[in-house]
């Protein structure tokens, strides 16, 4: 039975999307345009330059296009489903999360897993097309590919916790849309979605090494394009794993405090 409810909760997002074909068309269109734009931008930027910051043109283009595809994994129109913590707090429907025999944290995790798997389908499709069209380079070796997959998995795990912390904030500050936007920007910038972190000055790279954001995207993609050598992969993977553990404990604490807050305020 537990499997059943897990399956049900996980498929809420894909099902909602499938029920809204215009939204899916929009996603496809947006993804295609974004890939073309990013691809041409980075080729354009490299027109006058050879290798910079240890990244060749092809590495940079591959990195940038993969970043676009990877950000698809968890970048849906989450508000459309009215199932974000922010909206539940706003509409007062968060009470139902605490009214069911399914713990809110598990429901949230299942929903997120479904969303990420659904996003993965998009990202994989995009990847295959891009690979066939020669937009991205294949991984340097089978070993690099393997390490990349593990690292990406850990990265998504970290990303899940980062997004969870953002959502959990809503339990305390209902009116934090602007703050959320800024944090989203920080996540995108510091994880290397906008530009590979390698381009930034040393102090910036050092700073982000102490933050969880780069573990979500920069590390796996750098492993893919070979900017992080395989010899360094073990260390990077363990840093990612460490973030998973730290954030897991932290978000657990926040869930407990959130529950206490709902219980004391009544949602």
């Amino acid at each position: 039975m537990a499997v059943l409810h897990a399956w049900r909760a996980a498929r809420v997002t894909p099902l909602g999307e499938l029920n809204a074909p215009p939204r899916m068309t929009a996603v496809a269109l947006r993804l295609a345009v974004q890939v073309v734009l990013v691809w041409s931008l980075w080729r354009g930027l490299y027109a006058q330059t050879g290798t910079t910051a240890g990244l060749s043109r092809d590495q940079a283009v591959t990195y940038a296009v993969l970043a676009v595809l990877a950000s698809r994994l968890r970048e849906l129109d989450q508000y459309a489903g009215r199932d974000t913590v922010l909206q539940h707090m706003h509409f007062g429907t968060i009470v139902y999360w605490y009214l069911r025999p399914l713990p809110p944290q598990r429901y949230y995790a299942l929903r997120a897993a479904g969303e990420q798997l659904y996003g993965l389908a998009w990202a994989l499709t995009g990847y295959v097309i891009c690979l066939a069209a020669g937009v991205v380079e294949p991984p340097a070796s089978a070993a690099a590919a393997g390490v990349f997959v593990v690292s990406m998995l850990l990265g998504q795990w970290v990303l899940y916790y980062v997004m969870l912390v953002l959502d959990q904030l809503c339990f305390w500050t209902v009116r934090n849309t602007a703050a959320m936007l800024i944090l989203m920007f920080a996540q995108n910038l510091l994880s290397g979605v906008y530009a590979p972190l390698w381009f930034f000055p040393d102090w910036f790279v050092t700073m982000s090494a102490f933050l969880p954001f780069q573990a979500t995207l920069s590390v796996p993609l750098s492993l893919y394009v070979g900017r992080i050598p395989l010899s360094d992969a073990g260390f990077q993977l363990s840093v990612q794993a460490a973030w998973v553990v730290v954030l897991a404990l932290f978000t657990r604490l926040l869930w407990r405090r959130a529950a206490r807050r709902v219980i004391s305020q009544g949602g």
Partner: protein, 334 residues
């Protein structure tokens, strides 16, 4: 379910909230930012009542009286500051998940359905969350559909439902796991007469045929009259009255008037005991209730006819709305 004769037990329940007061003006806003001032608000204080299994109880009171807070405590969402509560033998705020399987709830217009999915998908999710066997689920859905006519719209996405359709779906969603105890916080708010009647019929059916215990809050007095055998009246977080509708009427609804036209306009008029003469102009007289042993409107009618020779008689009885208005006003004075 069922074996317990008392489904809901509330003993000395209290709940205090602490809120920050906003100081007026710009400097006030800045001061509140730096040094917020906290005040305590007693949403519920020392409430005690029982609801028997298979009973429908209406929890009444003006806005902000503490009804929703009480329901939230009984559903396990809120913890009380002091006092005890048991729902189907479970202390809701201590064993939230166990309690969740025993209760269903609808909070007014707040929907628990998934906005982007067809209604039936929401039902399916809930079925799996509450681990309801498939056959049982189908049978129950069929039963609900017969009264609530869900099948006409259950393949529509929730975002496209009308309010009436959504509330009916929410009602079904809350009862799909066969909870012995149901909490409904203003379920029919903003709905049209036809849908309201449908919902009432559904609730009556659930109480009478399925033996569910229902705790209902509403501002719709017609609903109370049609559904509730017993009411609990709260105001300012305190319990004002616990009894039948008749008791409430007797206590607060003594606003009837009996108008009579006497056969003899010059007769001396001495009002029957328990009534008072409110007006006397020629043959026209109006009596109202008076004294601690005030008559009910039926008794007064009988007494007037027995005592006087009347050519015409009429009565005005306060309806439940008036009774409640009097009751709330009375409660407010305490």
């Amino acid at each position: 379910m069922g074996q317990l004769s008392v489904a809901i037990e509330v003993r000395g329940l209290s709940r205090t909230f602490h809120t920050t007061v906003r100081r007026p003006g710009f400097t006030g806003a800045v001061r509140s930012l730096v040094n917020p001032e906290r005040v305590a608000k007693h949403a519920v204080s020392d409430i005690t009542f029982d609801v028997a299994a298979g009973e429908l109880l209406a929890l009444l009171g003006p806005n902000g009286a503490g009804k929703s807070t009480t329901i939230k405590i009984l559903t396990g969402i809120l913890t009380p500051t002091s006092g005890e509560a048991r729902v189907a033998g479970v202390v809701p705020y201590r064993e939230r998940e166990r309690n969740a399987r025993n209760v269903g709830a609808v909070f007014g217009q707040r929907t628990q359905l998934w906005w982007d999915l067809p209604v039936r998908e929401s039902f399916a999710i809930l079925r799996d969350i509450y681990e309801v066997p498939k056959a049982e689920h189908a049978a129950r859905l069929k039963e609900f559909d017969d009264i609530l006519e869900l099948s006409s719209f259950w393949d529509t996405r929730v975002r496209h439902l009308s309010l009436g359709q959504r509330v009916r779906s929410d009602l079904a969603a809350a009862l799909l796991h066969d909870p012995p105890v149901v909490f409904l916080d203003e379920p029919t708010i903003g709905m049209d007469v036809v849908v309201k009647e449908q919902v009432r019929e559904f609730l009556r059916h659930q109480v009478e045929q399925r033996g569910r215990t229902v705790l209902l809050t509403t501002h719709d007095m017609t609903e109370v009259e049609r559904l509730a055998e017993r009411v609990v009246l709260v105001n300012h977080g305190r319990l004002m009255l616990d009894g039948s509708l008749d008791e409430i009427r007797r206590k607060f609804g003594s606003t009837w008037q009996v108008r009579a036209t006497l056969a003899d306009p010059h007769a001396e008029v001495v009002p029957p005991p328990g009534t008072a003469l409110l007006r006397h102009a020629g043959a026209q007289v109006v009596f109202g209730p008076a004294g601690p042993a005030a008559l009910t409107v039926q008794q007064a009618l009988k007494a007037v006819i027995e005592r006087f020779e009347v050519t015409d008689i009429a009565l005005d009885e306060a309806d439940l709305e008036d009774v409640m208005r009097a009751a709330y006003a009375h409660a407010g004075e305490i």
